[in-house]
Symmetry: C2
Subunit: 131 residues, 2 copies
DNA sequence: ATGGACCCTGTAGTCACTACAGGGTCAAGC
DNA sequence: GCTTGACCCTGTAGTGACTACAGGGTCCAT
């Protein structure tokens, strides 16, 4: 059981110290033991748990989804269908965002193509926005 | 100069009443005249301005960018280069988001393809997240 | 005169952090 | 033994772009 300080944990997981304390505050990470000087003292289990959280965040899961994934991953015998459902929800949300952003990009590209670098008075971009 | 109530304005621009008051509070929309009963009284100019804001929001511009676009659009004789720059910044940000989300989608799709609907203990999705 | 639809202000909540302010702890160097 | 500086603590407030009340006032029709 090595003692890991919050700064070490932050560095080893690529998280900011404040973010770790935030995760603890909202109950996503369990509060660790404290040293005599009231410093947080983490161990390898905490490191694993935080790595999990950060990887899931990188994959676009919300903190609520991660909370659920964490509690599911503790019930080893359960079917992983619930995990699948959460992942699929996440995927659907991501695909929706991609579609919206792609439509946006196309519209903006069109607008920019029409720009003739004249004065503001005959700017196509502003035209497109005006009523 | 027709009198337009905040509710009418909201309906005609597809904005919520609270959002209009919020735009006024942050100085994005000018405060309108008031009626005897202290109700906000808008006119066609306000309608145009709010439509502009909403359209720009739909195109992914931030409120700060919109603030700049609005002030630029008032200087009719100026070169529209600055408008172009803002639009290009917006486009670049959108393209960055699309790239990130696409990478995310591919990773998630891979993970989901590997799901064999077993127990949580051998769930590939959780494996990928665990340290 | 009363009901309901609308309006007002002000404040707090959302998400996932981030940034202080104002202090305490600890190890190294002098 | 003392100081310096890096680290840590709590608590609060800020970010963007809204959204959602609470607790009241206004207006118009019945």
């Amino acid at each position: 059981m090595a003692h890991i300080s919050i700064g070490d944990l932050a560095q080893r997981t690529g998280t900011k110290v404040e973010t770790i304390r935030y995760y603890e505050r909202i109950g996503l990470l369990q509060a660790p033991a404290r040293t005599a000087g009231n410093y947080r003292s983490y161990d390898e289990a905490h490191l694993g748990r935080l790595s999990f959280v950060r990887r899931a965040r990188d994959l676009g899961f919300s903190l609520d989804q991660i909370r659920e994934l964490l509690s599911l991953s503790d019930e080893r015998d359960r079917s992983c269908e619930a995990v699948d459902v959460i992942a699929r929800q996440n995927l659907a949300a991501i695909e929706r965002k991609i579609r919206n952003l792609t439509a946006l990009r196309d519209e903006l590209t069109d607008l920019l193509d029409q720009c003739r670098r004249g004065t503001v008075a005959d700017c196509r971009i502003l035209d497109a926005l005006a009523p």
